[in-house]
Structures are given as structure tokens and as C-alpha cells.
Assembly symmetry: C3
Amino acid sequence: MKLGAIARALGATLEGDPELEIDELQPLDEAGPRALSFVSNQRYLAQLQVTRAGAVILGSGVSGPGCAVLRVDNAYLAFAVALGLFDRPVLPPLGVSAAAQLSPTARIGEDARIAAGVVVGDGVTIGARARLHPGVVIYPDTVIGDDFTAHANVVVRERVRIGDRVILGPGVVIGGDGFGFLPLPGGGIFKLPQIGTVEIEDDVEVGANTTVDRATIGTTRLARGVKLDNLVMVAHGCRIGEEALLAGQSGLAGSTIVGKRVQFGGQVGAAGHLEIGDDVRVAAKTGIDNDVAPGRVIGGYPELDVRLWRRVSAAVQRLPELLRRVRRIERMLGDTAGSDEPKAR
Amino acid sequence: MKLGAIARALGATLEGDPELEIDELQPLDEAGPRALSFVSNQRYLAQLQVTRAGAVILGSGVSGPGCAVLRVDNAYLAFAVALGLFDRPVLPPLGVSAAAQLSPTARIGEDARIAAGVVVGDGVTIGARARLHPGVVIYPDTVIGDDFTAHANVVVRERVRIGDRVILGPGVVIGGDGFGFLPLPGGGIFKLPQIGTVEIEDDVEVGANTTVDRATIGTTRLARGVKLDNLVMVAHGCRIGEEALLAGQSGLAGSTIVGKRVQFGGQVGAAGHLEIGDDVRVAAKTGIDNDVAPGRVIGGYPELDVRLWRRVSAAVQRLPELLRRVRRIERMLGDTAGSDEPKAR
Amino acid sequence: MKLGAIARALGATLEGDPELEIDELQPLDEAGPRALSFVSNQRYLAQLQVTRAGAVILGSGVSGPGCAVLRVDNAYLAFAVALGLFDRPVLPPLGVSAAAQLSPTARIGEDARIAAGVVVGDGVTIGARARLHPGVVIYPDTVIGDDFTAHANVVVRERVRIGDRVILGPGVVIGGDGFGFLPLPGGGIFKLPQIGTVEIEDDVEVGANTTVDRATIGTTRLARGVKLDNLVMVAHGCRIGEEALLAGQSGLAGSTIVGKRVQFGGQVGAAGHLEIGDDVRVAAKTGIDNDVAPGRVIGGYPELDVRLWRRVSAAVQRLPELLRRVRRIERMLGDTAGSDEPKAR
């Protein structure tokens, strides 16, 4: 692809030769003379001076290296668009593989691509242009919209409802039983049948091996545009608001409600029956133990406002020193009531 | 189903019309006039006043809304029983699918339901009424009891032993190799063959994508009635006691022993070679680093008694303030030994 | 197997009867008279006195029980070697199952063992002696070396490169899309196509249900000898150095670089765009938020040197007491400026 054509596609000002042939997009330190690269994170500016890239995408403030430059207002957005120019998605072959097992009562829309080893149960409805990679299992009576992509070995259990343009990564499980058990006073544990379901709205994407449990009753809901990373756990009865983004290995206990546009870092956990307001942002590894008002930025366990949490985190390493200082003060004052032994165990 | 029949099934006192037709169980805020609902968590009492449910299950202390009431001693237990009345479990078709691959040396009990894409290895024994959903893989020489349910894409590796009435959620892996590697002094890493096994006793249930590793030698054991939630990690050689409940994304390092009826919140981790006594309860995200005496309730990392941990958690946010107060005292006393700079780094 | 033969295989000095028949390796508390056992962890020395094992492997410092002893310099290494003597690995049958689906353009090396339900895409190359267990899915154009083992239901996506002697546990996903989304100012979320790949070098092993995402551009890399435990999450663009060991449920955010021989405990998390130097060791549940110099041993969140972190962890439980002591000092000094109410919220 010629650099001039890329510049036009990105709406970029080209500083360099429009006839330059570009074969690929690569990071600065892996790029060769036929690669386009970019910088958005300050951290990598030093690499810009030594890159062997043929061209780079740069924002207006950044001075270029020797190579060609595609000058744009927003380097990250231009990079995002450029990715699409070089994308070569892999689809299952058009049609239904002879090695797939579709129930005669399943209804599949036009232009489906259904690979070997796929199993679709009784009464399932799937819209147009479905892409089911090998080993996908759809249990009975599930209803799925158009442009559905399920990567290999996805499992969607019975009666789940899925909207349009949903993408499920490899190994995702939707609609598994919620963790509902009632230990009985006299011993034994009663399993609560999980008779609810999951509803996934349009434009949701779910990462590899993430699990979203069905509700005990009612519906576990991922609203329009929700994106879950890998190995995330959504328990029974949770509702996640539009365009919320939950990073890897995060987990929600049962019946918690997450607002619109909420963002979780990795390994966040939230207790059950909470309400987390719209636009809340949560630092990685936070443990959320209380309702959270809209717009708050939080960290720690239990959660604090993120600035307080950062101050606390900086202060906590001074605790051993602080103990010594207080002991010294007590000695100066002749006060022996404060001992060295913990009293509060 | 008529409300009168439901009342009889639950042993409830009916306050309302026994002829009312009930089609489903729903949460208060999703219930319509043909739905039965319930309240057990105080948090949702306000919804009771505005629900459109046709009937609700209530304990003796709670005054009802306008609709019919099923009055019981224990609302949660009655709800649990009611779930069973509305459960419509989905089973694979009776018999063995032509698209399943069963070794000729595998022995399968009566009334099996074995779906397409299932693979059962040489020398496997499975009891009566097995339910193997699509894509389940059972490696050779594994022995499984009666009433076994394996959801889609479960993997059980070789020589594992599984009791009666065990349920494995989608994507569960039982018997994967333990993480046993010995870095050699001169470089290179020696892989310890993991020649032990896993034993799962009766009435165990395991959630989606959870992994239970085989022991290096001997047995990783899930005792009778253990319930594991999704994405839990049980390392090689662990033993989990009867009726223990481990919530989502919890993990045990190798050879740790968990007592009977222990309960873990989500994202708990335990170090290896520990003994956690019977009836211990563990708050979410706790990091267990020491043996734990029976009956303790713990939280934090490393673990503390839960009440101390809660006091510490409340106190920790006052640390920046405390540092200022101690500095102020030092100034009042003319003491300059306690500086603002960390000394203990 | 006779004990004398085992002694020779381990280079051990035999204290006992070389004709003793040994059938298995077992832990001290499960071993019977035809079992060999061992002790390396001090914690289990007491069991040595009451074991019913026929023989034990012991280091030079440890006095034996009544049974036969295989005396060695390094008991753990001798045990590791002994495991190999009793290992009975389970392989898929030699050849390609009639129920596998191999693209006509896939090239598979000699002596392959490819089980039922395996799907191998167009243009895939796999070296000699591949062992693909049931349900493995290899997307198109992936290139894999010799002696590859993929356990049941592994997924390797398109264009991934894998070296020799790599082992992937059940349910592993290699090459899933990275979590790359750009919320747009006017609403909506732009999905960044993930056009990079994953490269896995020789002698890597990956545990059950772990996920390694493809890079946005360039390569996510697991260098030679890396070992990942179960349910680990490696995000797009990370690079993990030679012989690094990451324990269960650990996670790396995007573009983080992990040095050679680094060791993570369980449930560790690292933020994105970090550099973690060679030979760093990380305590379980640590949250790494900054670059880490080579050789450091760290714990806590954010990470501290492990000794400071342990002192801090011990001190933190004294915080409620410390607050009382400072208040007492303030009262002695007649200072009322330090109140009981938090000021720093």
C-alpha cells in the first residue's frame, strides 16, 4: 500500500514520499523500512530517534525522525484507523461445515459461516452473517442477532439472548449456573436451580475464557457496548451498563449493578448487591465493598477516592518508622502506657 | 401453575387467591402479574411496595404489599424450593450421539445422554444417567459415578476419580498438570512429571472454566459436597474438606488443606502447604499466608481476624493525617530526630 | 520396579533391601509398603516417623525411619528424577483420527497423534511428533515446531508462531484479540483491530485455561523456557523473558516486559508499559505499578522491597493502637489540633 494512499485514508498531512510502499504496521522497535509505526505514549519517544521505520504517525507537537511522517491531530485515533487498513481477519469458510451439528429446529440466517465441530441446539435462532468458529456450542432456545462472532470453543447455554454485532472470544462461557447454594442447618447443601438467563445487548465484546453466569431468577445483563477482557467473572444477576470496560481478571459478585461507561482496571473485585454509578473509574486490584457514587475515581480495599488511596499507599511504607517515632516520643514524655506489644489482636 | 398448588408445595400459608395462575419466578423489579417473587435481602424491601408481582414469598415479620402473599418461616429456603418448581433443565438427547467418539473399551452406564463432539477415552468407566454435553473430553482410565453432568467443553484428564451426582460447568478442567518446575543451577528448567491424580467425591459442583490440577504424587481431593465457583484455581496436592464453598477467582497454591464447611469470598488466595481449619470464613480478596485455626473469620493480607482487619482498614485512611500529627508533636517537643524522609526503605 | 534399580537410576546410596518391589511414588501419609516416598519440606518431617512407606528418598542430614532409605545429596532433585520412572503419559493414538478436520493445505510432520474433534486450519504447519488431544483448534497460517503437545480444547488463533517442545494445557487460548478499545468523545467505542501476533519460543509450558493475547501490532512474546500456571492472563504486546515462572491467576496488562528468570507468586498483577528486570521475585498478590530493577524481591501494592513490605504488613495491624497512642500523647500535651475525625478524605 502506498504511503500517499494511507495518508488520504487517515486524513493526515504527509511529510515524505507518497510513493513509498508500506507492507505492515509495527511498533517502533520492530519496524523496518517498509513498515509504518506510531507514537502516542510518551514513554516510547526515545525509540523514535532510532527507529528503522519507513514512516511514522505523529501528533502535531512531536518533531519527526529522519523518516516520512504522517502528521495528524490525534495520533492514537489515526493509528486505530490505520490498523483497519492492515487487518486480515480470518473467517470460517462460508456455509455450514459437514462436520457441524445443527438441530433441525435451529434457524440460521443468511451468509452464515459455521465451522467443523460446532453444535447448535434445538430451537436456537441466529441472525445473518454468523461466524461460528470450530467447537462452539449453543444450547437450546438461545436467540442471537446479526453479525455474531463466536471464536473457537465458546459455550452459550440455554435461553440466553444476544444482540447484534456481538463478539465472544475463545473459551467464553455465557449462561453457566450462578453460584447459588444454601447450606442446610442439619448438614447438606441445597443447590438453588438457576432458572434465570443472560441478556447481551448489541456491540458487546467478551475476552477469552471469561464467564458470565445466568441469573437465579431474572436476567444477568451486559448492556450495549460493554467490553469485558479475558478471565473476567460476572456473577448471577449482575447488570453492567452501556459501554462499561472491565479489564482482565476482574470479578463481580452476585446482583451488583455497574453503571454506564464505568472502567475497571485489572483484577478488580466488587462485592455483591452493590450499585456502582455511571462513569466511575476503578484502579487495578481495587476491592469495592460499598456503593459508589457516579463519577468517582477509586482505588484500594475497601475503596477510597483514588487520591487519598495514593497518599495512603505512600504513607503506609512509613509505618515501621512511625511506630519508632511514637515510641520515642512516649519515652521522652515518660509515658509507658504505649507498649511495644500489639494490644488489638 | 396455580398459586394454591405452589403454596402447598412450599408449605406456605396463602394470603390471596389460590386460583391465580403463576407462570414464572422473577425478581421484584422484573415481575409482572403472573409472576411470583420474593424478598430475603433487606436491601430490596423498598421494591416490595412498588412491585407488580402477582404474589410474593414473605417471612413472618414482613408486611405484604397489595398482592397475594405466600407466608413462610424462612423466605429464602421457600424461594429455593420454588425455584425447583419452575426449573426447566436442558439435557442432551437420550442415547449416544453418532457424532460422539467413545472408545470401545469405555463402559457407560444406563440411560446415558452423550452429545455430539464428546470424546471418551480408553478404559473409562461412567455410571448411570450420565449427561455429557457437546465437546466434553474424558481422557483414558478415568472412573466416574452415577448422575454425572459435564457441561460443554469440560476436560477431565487421565485416571481421575469422580463420585456420584457431580456437576462440572462449561470449560472446567480437572486433572491438568500441576505447576511443578525445578530451575537447575546451571540453567534450564526440569519439569516434574505430575503422576498423581484428582479425586472428586459425591455431590461436588464446579463452576465454569475452573481448574483443578492433579497432584505431583498422591491425590488432589475435593471432598463430598464441595462447591467451587467460576475461574477458581486448585493447585496440585490440595485437599478441600466437605461442603466447603469457594467463590469466584479464588486460588489455592500447592498442597494446602482446606477444612470442612470453609467459605471463601471471591478472589481469595492461599499460599501453599497451609492448613485452614474447619468452619473458617474468609473475606473476599484475603491473602492467607499462615495456618488458620478452626472457626476463625479472617480478612486482609496477610490474614487477620476479621474485626481487627476492619478496624485496620478504617484506620489506614487516616495514615497521612497521623503522619502530620506526629510531626506536629515532634515540633512541639523540639525533637528533630523524626524526619519527614522515609528511613526504612 | 526393584528398589536397587531405582537407587541406581537416582545415583542414590541404598540403605535397605535392593530386591524390594516398588509400585508407585506416594506422599508420606498415603504411602504403603510397596510405595517410595520422600521428604524435602521441613514441614512434613514429623510424618516421616509414622509413614508406612516401603522406602524414602532422604538428603544427607536427615535420619531415616525404620524403612529403606535412598540417600542422596539433593532429595528434591532425586524425587524429580524418580517421578520420571513412574510416569505413564497418555497420548492420543498414533495417526490422524478420522473424526479430526485437517485442512488440505495444512502440513503436519511425521509421527503425529491427532485426536477426534481436532480442527487444523488452512496453511498451518506443525512439526514432527505433534500430540493434539481432542477438541484442539488451530486457526489458519499458524506455524508450530516439533514435539508440540496441545491438551484438549486448546485454541491457537491465526498466524501465531510456536517453537519446539511446547506444551499447552487444556483450555489454553493463544492469540485472542487484545483488549483494545477507544471510547469516542461523542459516544460509541472504536475497536482497534488486533493485527499483531504471538510468538512462543522453545520449551514453553502453559497451564489450563490461561490466555495469551495477540499484540495490537508486533508480537506478544513468551521466550524460551517460560512457564505459565493456570488462569494466567498475558495482555497484548507483553514480552516475558527466558525461564520466567508465573504462578496461577497472575496477570500482565498491555506492553509490559518481564525479565529472564523472573518468578511471580499467585494472583500477582502488573500494570501496563512496565519493565520488570531479570531475576526479580514477586510475592503472591503483589500489584506492580512501577518499573522494577533487576534482582529485586518485592511484595505489596504498590510494590515495595519484600522486607520492608513484611515489616509494613506486621505494623499495619497496630494502626488502631497507634491512633490511640498518638491521641493520648496529644492530650498529655494539651494539643487539640489532632482530632479524632479524618481530615484527609
